[in-house]
Amino acid sequence: MERQIPDLVKEIEGIVGADSLSTDSTERFCYSRDFSFIDVEPEVMPDVIVWPTSSQQVSQIVRLANQFRVPVVPRGAGTGEHGGAMPIRGGILLDFTKMNKILEIDEANMTCLVEPGVVVDDLGRALAKRGFFLPPSPASSEACTVGGNVANNSAGYRTVKYGSYRNWVLALEVVLPNGEIIWTGSKTRKTSSGYDLTRLFVGSEGTLGIFTGIRLRIHPLPECRKVFLAFYNNVDDASETIVKIMASKIFPSSAEIMDKTSIEAVARYGIKLPKIGGMVVVELDGSEKEVVERLELVRKVALECGAIETRVGASAQEDEELWRARRSVTPAFASIEPNVIDEDIAVPVTNLPELFRRIERLSKELDIEIATYGHAGDGNLHPDILFDQRDPDEVKRAIMAVGKLREITIELGGTLTAEHGIGLRRAQAMTMEHTDEEMNVMRSIKRALDPNDIMNPGKMYL
């Protein structure tokens, strides 16, 4: 392959121009990693990075890659925590930073059409100006891209009411591994026509094709949003609260939980929070009357479950400050311990209290800090393992904790990743959750579309 690279680069240069690619080792080195903590040494660099600006360019490049049998790795902002954008077999890295246009916001049809490199918050601001929002919005929305979100079926803190990206993608323009361009789905809000290719491509992590156009459903902004906080002596009472809120048909737009260390991390942003064992954050949306009524119900449940203090956000600005701090929790842990492994497990909501108990036990057994927070309303927790890479024994225990967490999750009927994806870091664990037969179906799909295994190879254990 190595000898072919200069020829390939020359041909790509003919497609995008010399200014839109780089083979400089300084640049390539930076593209060897994303947000994930993965012990790959030394870094594997892409052979060439390309910044395409159109689906035609992507199609031509992928066609070439297929001819040359060279891997292609698409990348949004590189904010994934599972190594999905790491070019572990070299090849072409397609950085979509420059395909960042919002092409259409269609109010009557309640859809928008975007290029994959649009930053999620940029889209959020553009939609808000027109009175709309896109409900799935991961914590990294300040930096991550819609393309990366779709590729990982991302979700975020409003999933409990609105669902993840799979519920919001209507249609996708996809460049297939042979370079052909297709549109999945339909512009209509519903379709029964043929296989649901859209849902197949959402969450495919760049292993089946590359999105170059994304049509999303959008939702009108609610008349009112209010944030409710409840504080507890321990996280058990907090998790009981979540179970009861979900069972009481309150239907919050967000139901989050934080343990002691997570609260400490959020407090570093100047958010005034008591030093306490657990916290629940509930957001309600709808008409003001309805929100106020349901707030009272939430407060009642929280107090019944042992809340020692409850609070309602004083203003939309205060709520936004809290959400911003909340969105920064995972990277903020790096100011407590230098290294973080961010897990993304989910269990049926009723198993949450048990999951918390087991995480606490595991932390004690392995003598390693596990800070846990997450979108508890849909059973999705982020137990984050905090450690110092400079201590080899601690690294060993951290990695052991990841394995044990996965076992616990499966035992409790859960999933290994609710919204981040499998990527590289969880690839080996795919068989913990999926039977051989299930894996065979996935591998058959992969082989049918990408027989030469050029699309983001080495990910998802395919």
């Binding site: 640049e27 080195f29 929790v329 990277p331 100011s335």
Partner: protein, 376 residues
């Protein structure tokens, strides 16, 4: 091999590569490539420290193209001070004889020979007519700074007239100022910078000055943080004096300016010194002015790229264009700055974007009827 102080080492370790800085780093905004943003830079610096990469012209470009604007420091979730990491590395590179770049060395030479970063030995009294009328001694010294003295004496002239009108007792260094040295500090020549500061303080002391008044935020920060301990020196920025005089009723803004005005927060007055409200209060004091905020203001303000103009002229231009465009998009007729470096860089690109750039001193001078028109 490059090594870092313990504090900076901790900063490097804290970077978890979350990439949030992508949305704030101004050089990343212009280039759109990882290596030109904070995450990329820190990753490269780690690799340099670990011997995975060696010094190359490309790598030096990434190190010296950082404007040290502190945008990443303000927004980093684990609170990594990216600017400290880059600054520390520049110091090490200078000590190792690798840095700074040739263009920086020329500027350093210009400073050390002429006393001015632009290489022109200028006396304020030759360029700002009202400076001639100032007394030889006074408790307050107006320190105009390199950019004002050599390129924009009109700003100094407006400010001197304002202060004179208020009956403010101040003097200036009439035989030519000596650079505050901030630029040298930014490119890693900390020792030379400290020497310049020391020389300046000696001059101030000899002149029996107790209050140093600056127009340039670089000079402001440099003097503010180096004032000799145990002596009753104070350092003020022009915007602070304008607000003080306005509130004390010693100056009054009477002439109306019917316009939407966006105040641009310079890095060195904003993120470095956290002075966001003082200049806004001055701007709001001008009758007729509607203060509009752009999509990125205060802590999140963009950077004009002034500190990397040499040698990254193109990046500077792109960065300044982004600022002027955002002002235009927010409906501003005027983009006001309290920093002569920003003033220069924004003025260079403004004619293409239908937004007028002016200094806060010019705006005040106009409203006080001291200058006829705000210069185009």
């Amino acid at each position: 091999m490059i090594s870092f102080s313990k504090e900076v080492e901790e900063e490097i370790i804290k970077c978890c590569r979350c990439g949030f800085c992508r949305s704030y780093c101004p050089t990343f905004e212009y280039k759109g490539r990882e290596s030109w943003g904070t995450r990329g830079r820190i990753f490269l610096i780690k690799a340099l420290r670990d011997g995975k990469l060696s010094i190359s012209p490309e790598l030096l470009d990434r190190i010296y193209s950082c404007t040290l604007c502190k945008s990443c420091d303000e927004t980093c979730p684990p609170l990594v001070k990216g600017s400290e990491i880059v600054r520390d590395l520049r110091t090490s590179l200078a000590e190792a004889g690798i840095g700074p770049l040739d263009g920086h060395r020329e500027m350093a030479k210009a400073i050390l020979t002429s006393g001015n970063v632009l290489g022109k030995k200028v006396r304020l009294i030759d360029v700002a007519p009202s400076a001639k009328n100032l007394p030889d001694t006074a408790p307050t010294l107006l320190f105009a700074g390199c950019v004002i003295s050599s390129s924009y004496p009109n700003i100094a002239e407006a400010f001197i007239q304002i202060l004179a009108k208020a009956g403010y007792d101040f003097t200036a260094i009439k035989d030519g100022e000596n650079c505050c040295g901030k630029f040298l500090d930014l490119v890693g020549l900390g020792q030379q910078s400290t020497q310049l500061l020391r020389d300046n303080w000696e001059v101030f002391d000899k002149m029996n000055v107790r209050n140093v008044l600056t127009i340039c935020p670089f000079c402001y920060g440099a003097f503010l943080h180096s004032a000799p301990k145990g002596k009753p020196f104070s350092v003020q920025h022009s915007t602070q004096i304008l607000l003080d005089l306005m509130r004390a009723g010693k100056i009054s803004f009477n002439r109306k300016l019917d316009a939407s005005v966006s105040y641009f927060d310079s890095c060195h007055l904003g993120r470095y010194e956290k002075m966001y409200e003082v200049p806004r209060a001055v701007v709001k004091g001008i009758p007729g002015v509607r203060l509009v905020e752009t999509d990125r203001s205060k802590q999140l303000s963009r950077c004009c790229g002034g500190t990397i103009r040499v040698p990254y002229f193109d990046i500077r231009t792109g960065m300044s264009e982004a600022i002027v465009k955002s002002a235009r998009d927010s409906g501003a007729d005027f983009l006001v700055t309290a920093c002569p470096t920003c003033y220069h860089n924004l003025k260079v690109v403004a004619p293409d974007h239908d937004v007028r750039v002016c200094s806060i001193e010019e705006l005040a001078g106009y409203s006080m009827g001291l200058i006829k028109e705000i210069p185009e």
